[in-house]
């Protein structure tokens, strides 16, 4: 398989470079760094998918705690989201990555040092905590726009609160929050560039590396195009997704 694919890929790569050369881009530079850029894109995708995905798992309990939790729980959830939404992601990332270094002995004793030693894991952790705060705010708003009758009806049918949330409230809230959640995903793609500051070789990190070696501004142009493509793809997919999932809410025009 490898032997068969190799020449095909080589031919494709050569063809791609030729086209890029035709539109006036630096093919030498692209030959040298092109594959690294693809690797960078992949790391960026990993960062975003992991943190937004795990962040969503955290965001639901946080949002429900805001709505249903008593004084203590709802205030704790509010404090959490207030902290993460009120401070810059860069500061949070430094706090986790460099801050963990200060507690190296304790973390080693707990068997967690392998995690905090890696910049990538620290970035994922910070981004997860950050996006969980924003997503919980979106979901809380969505839950609160649902009429109280939804919960009352579910209860009168004999559903437990948990079951009512799982089958009645959460699906509807997810639909209402779909658009802002898509915006949050796009914001996260952009914010993930911050990982490059703590030595993660995501798309931004690879770009900075390539620029520091070549001093060719063109690499920033590639990065810009790649980021714009990612954002645009998510935007379009989200439009389709929203039309499809919220088709019961569509108004005829």
């Amino acid at each position: 398989m490898q032997a068969l694919l190799g020449p095909v890929l080589d031919a494709l790569g050569a063809g791609f470079l030729q086209i890029m050369g035709l539109i006036g881009l630096n093919t030498d530079l692209m030959q040298r760094y092109g594959l690294r850029f693809l690797g960078g894109v992949w790391v960026t995708i990993e960062l975003v998918v992991l943190s937004v995905g795990i962040g969503m798992l955290l965001a639901w309990p946080l949002a429900i705690a805001r709505v249903e939790g008593g004084k203590v729980l709802s205030r704790l959830a509010f404090g959490y989201s207030y902290f993460f939404r009120g401070t810059p992601l860069l500061a949070q990332t430094f706090l986790v990555y460099y801050g963990a270094g200060q507690f190296r002995e304790e973390l080693t004793a707990l068997g967690l040092w392998w995690f905090f030693r890696e910049a990538f894991y620290c970035a994922v952790l910070t981004f997860t905590l950050n996006t969980a705060a924003y997503q919980s705010e979106i979901l809380r708003g969505a839950i609160q726009t649902l009429p109280a009758g939804q919960m009352e009806a579910a209860k009168s049918l004999g559903l437990s609160k948990l079951k009512a949330y799982w089958t009645v409230i959460m699906p509807q809230a997810a639909g209402i929050g779909l658009r802002p959640l898509g915006n949050e995903l796009i914001l996260m793609i952009k914010s993930s560039a911050i990982a490059s500051v703590i030595t993660v070789y995501d798309l931004m990190g690879v770009t900075r590396l390539a620029f520091s070696r070549s001093y060719d501004m063109e690499v920033y142009l590639w990065a810009a195009v790649l980021y714009l493509m990612m954002v645009e793809i998510v935007r379009r997919v989200w439009n389709v997704l929203e039309r499809r999932l919220n088709r019961h809410l569509l108004v005829s025009r």
Binding site: L89, F94, Q102, I194
Partner: protein, 240 residues
């Protein structure tokens, strides 16, 4: 605990002064960017309704690009790109000359471009919220297009745009932290200096976070006062 207070004090051996100077620069940077970014935002919002197709198209491209690019990338492009471009222009006049772009200016330009893109959406929605009839009435009274905008539309969009603009300001305040990467001595950069010297990253970065939090809280207090004031003519039933 006592050691922590000593490190944060303003006296000798304390980093309070350094961090305060950084905090001040962060505020200065954000305030310097504000008028620049809002001016771009308003101009772009207006050109979205332009009668020239090219102008409309350019304004859409502008918002798409600067809303889609990571702020960090915009900053690098402005900073390094500006340096290269200005050097090239300068060496055309004086061969071999090299231009250093002032980091603060690069920061203001980059953040202003991003703020302009985001605030243009807010301004655009606000301009559209003014009923057409008002413009037509003003035109019927013989006001020129410029005066219609300045005397009729502009005073009304403030109230509608304010919540969106306050959001833009909050984002800007946090985005200023990125300029520390191009060595501007802002709050983040000064905190990193203190960390380098004291080896107390957790303490200092936590303090930096708390300072940002205070800035956010103070701004949201100011903005809710402004919103209250701006909508005092629009009291609703049950409002207070």
């Amino acid at each position: 605990m006592l050691e922590a207070f000593q490190l944060l004090s303003f006296g000798p051996g304390g980093w309070g002064g350094v961090i305060a100077s950084g905090a001040l620069l962060t505020i200065e940077l954000a305030l310097a960017t504000l008028p620049f970014g809002f001016a771009i935002g308003l101009a772009v919002a207006l050109s979205k309704d332009s009668s020239y197709r090219t102008v409309r198209w350019l304004s859409v491209v502008y918002t798409t690009v600067f809303r889609g690019l990571p702020e960090l990338l915009t900053l690098f492009i402005v900073y390094y790109g500006g340096q290269l471009l200005l050097s090239r222009i300068a060496s055309a006049f004086v061969p071999g000359s090299n231009v250093e772009v002032n980091q603060f200016v690069a920061g203001v330009v980059a953040l202003g471009l991003v703020l302009g893109a985001f605030s243009s959406e807010v301004f655009y929605a606000a301009i559209r919220s003014v009923p057409r009839g008002q413009r037509e009435a003003a035109a019927a009274l013989g006001l020129s297009r410029g005066r219609v905008f300045r005397l009729v539309v502009l005073p009304q969009i403030w109230r509608v745009a304010l919540p969106g603009l306050s959001n833009n300001w909050m984002v800007l305040l946090k985005d200023t932290s990125l300029v520390s990467v191009i060595a501007i001595a802002d709050l983040m950069r000064q905190t990193s200096l203190a960390v380098g010297a004291t080896k107390q990253p957790f303490l200092f970065y936590l303090v930096a976070c708390l300072i940002y939090l205070v800035f956010s809280a103070a701004s949201s207090a100011v903005f809710s006062r402004m919103e209250e004031r701006a909508s005092r003519g629009f009291k609703r039933v049950g409002g207070h």
